[in-house]
């Protein structure tokens, strides 16, 4: 991904900064300029809101045929995750064996390399997820 395009979304990619509708309170990620529920009422009332990074696996797949930027990393696990704030997002789940992933698994965001633009280009970082450690202090 071109550097300006990646840079623009660093708050989202690093810190899961989404938006909260000032009208209905619903939280969205990625950020939205308009709330699909409140529409007009929400304009000008969409506020930045960082997700806590915790969620539950709603569905998952293990990718064996990756696109060029992910060659060498396969197989990797991708999941559709329902965040505790209510929104869904897509991300890789790392540091677990393929047989450990299941629907309902609790996960938390971590910070990883997403991909490098060749050996000369920029390295792009962002969120992935890993199995939540239940003993975790809040």
């Amino acid at each position: 991904m071109a550097v300006p395009r990646y840079w623009r979304e660093i708050p989202q990619r690093y810190n899961l900064v989404g938006t909260k509708c000032g009208s209905c309170g619903k939280i969205y990620f990625p950020p939205k300029v308009v709330c699909p529920t409140c529409r007009r009422k929400s304009l000008g009332h969409m506020e930045d809101c960082a997700l806590a990074g915790r969620g539950t696996v709603e569905s998952y797949t293990i990718i064996y045929a990756p696109p060029p930027h992910f060659e060498g990393e396969e197989p990797y696990t991708m999941a559709l995750i329902k965040m505790d704030e209510g929104c869904y997002l897509m991300g890789q789940v790392v540091d677990l064996e393929p047989q450990e992933i299941h629907i309902g698994l609790r996960v938390e965001a971590c910070f990883r390399r997403i991909y490098e633009d060749g050996t000369r280009g920029a390295i792009q970082y962002g969120y992935k997820f890993k199995k939540m450690e239940e003993a975790e202090t809040p």
Binding site: G72, E73, D95, E97, F111, R112, I123, Y125
Partner: protein
């Protein structure tokens, strides 16, 4: 002089390990003999998508979260490593952004072989003491490189720790710091080269031992203390044996070294080594405990720190390093190579 010390710390060790036995098998060596010689039984290996920046971020986030310090009060971020992902472009800005400390702060990367992290701690101490910043974040982290087949391959590992230095909300006061520095080329990595070179046995007496022992002696003199005055001592750990031998030379006991000695089970995390050792000690220390920590960076220099644990430690959440040490997955050599990106 104003008080300065540690207001927060966080450690990170990747989940993957390779046993010295497995590395030895590939090169036709006897694993047991190698392990006995180096006192390294297994080492941490980064995941395929982990590097010094990601390890630094995880450690820094842990420090921020555990300490409860507001990241916008962090006025400086320094990351010490010899494996920064970029030759030009700071790791520290990635860390600062990921803990949401930007933009009203300063940042830079440090490199001084394995002591870049403690150099970062000293800088933050100075900035706090001078009143330039309220809190500073110092990180020592590495995903260290070793040429396949080199003796370093048994130990070169990955991990790091982050410290928030400040004048209040301290869990440990830093009573004093001293350094001992000379130009001693015992270990290096040339620009553009993937793997380091080293002076083999030259890395021992004139390099590691001279600097570690000298810096520690300077500290004992400056503080007018004796080895027995400390509850714990941490030395840089290129292998499991060197820190024990340094301790013996200086009159410390094995018991004082034991708690912070991680190299036998995670290898040498380079810039992460002394910081991780100190984290392991802080994880078990009680209020009033006295700690001495001396790093070593090839090239060469040592930074020594004398700390006293405060009452603040009692409420500090601190079991994460232990869990990361226990929660591990072993790789064979082929997967290890995949993780290190050597198969690309």
């Amino acid at each position: 002089m104003a008080t300065v010390g540690i207001a927060g710390y966080g450690a990170y060790v990747p989940k993957y390990r390779i046993k010295a036995d497995e590395v030895a098998r590939v090169w036709g060596k006897k694993g047991e003999a190698v392990s006995a010689g180096l006192m390294v039984y297994e080492k941490s290996v980064p995941a395929i998508d982990e590097d010094t920046a990601t390890i630094s971020v995880e450690a820094a986030r842990r420090a921020v979260r555990s300490s409860g310090i507001n990241p916008v009060d962090i006025g400086a971020v320094y990351v010490g490593s010899e494996s920064h992902p970029y030759a030009v472009k700071p790791t520290a800005t990635i860390v600062a952004e990921a803990i949401r400390a930007t933009p009203d702060m300063t940042a830079a990367d440090y490199e001084f072989a394995c002591k870049a992290g403690t150099a970062a701690i000293q800088t933050c101490m100075a900035l706090v003491k001078s009143g330039m910043i309220t809190y500073g974040l110092a990180v020592g982290a590495d995903v260290s490189q070793a040429a396949p087949g080199d003796a370093l391959e048994y130990a070169a590992s990955a991990g790091g720790a982050a410290f928030i230095l400040g004048g209040d909300h301290l869990i440990a006061e830093i009573n004093h710091t001293v350094s001992f520095t000379t130009d001693t080329p015992d270990f290096w990595r040339r620009e553009g080269e993937p793997y380091p070179g080293h002076g083999e046995r030259f890395t021992g007496e004139p390099a590691y031992f001279r600097h570690v022992v000298s810096a520690t002696k300077k500290m004992l003199e400056a503080m007018d203390t004796r080895p027995g005055d400390y509850d714990y001592v941490v030395f840089h750990q290129p292998n499991g044996k060197f820190p024990l031998r340094a301790a013996k030379k200086l009159g410390f006991t094995k018991e004082q070294v034991q708690e912070g000695l991680l190299c036998p089970v995670i290898g040498n995390t380079y810039s992460g080594s002394t910081p991780l050792g100190l984290s392991a000690v802080l994880d078990v220390a009680q209020p009033g405990d006295r700690i001495l920590a001396t790093s070593y960076g090839s090239g060469a220099g040592s930074d020594s720190f004398d700390l006293t644990v405060t009452e603040g430690i009692a409420d500090y959440p601190r079991n994460h390093l232990r869990r990361m040490l226990e929660n591990k997955v072993y790789l064979d050599y082929a997967l290890y190579m995949k993780h290190r990106g050597a198969l690309k």
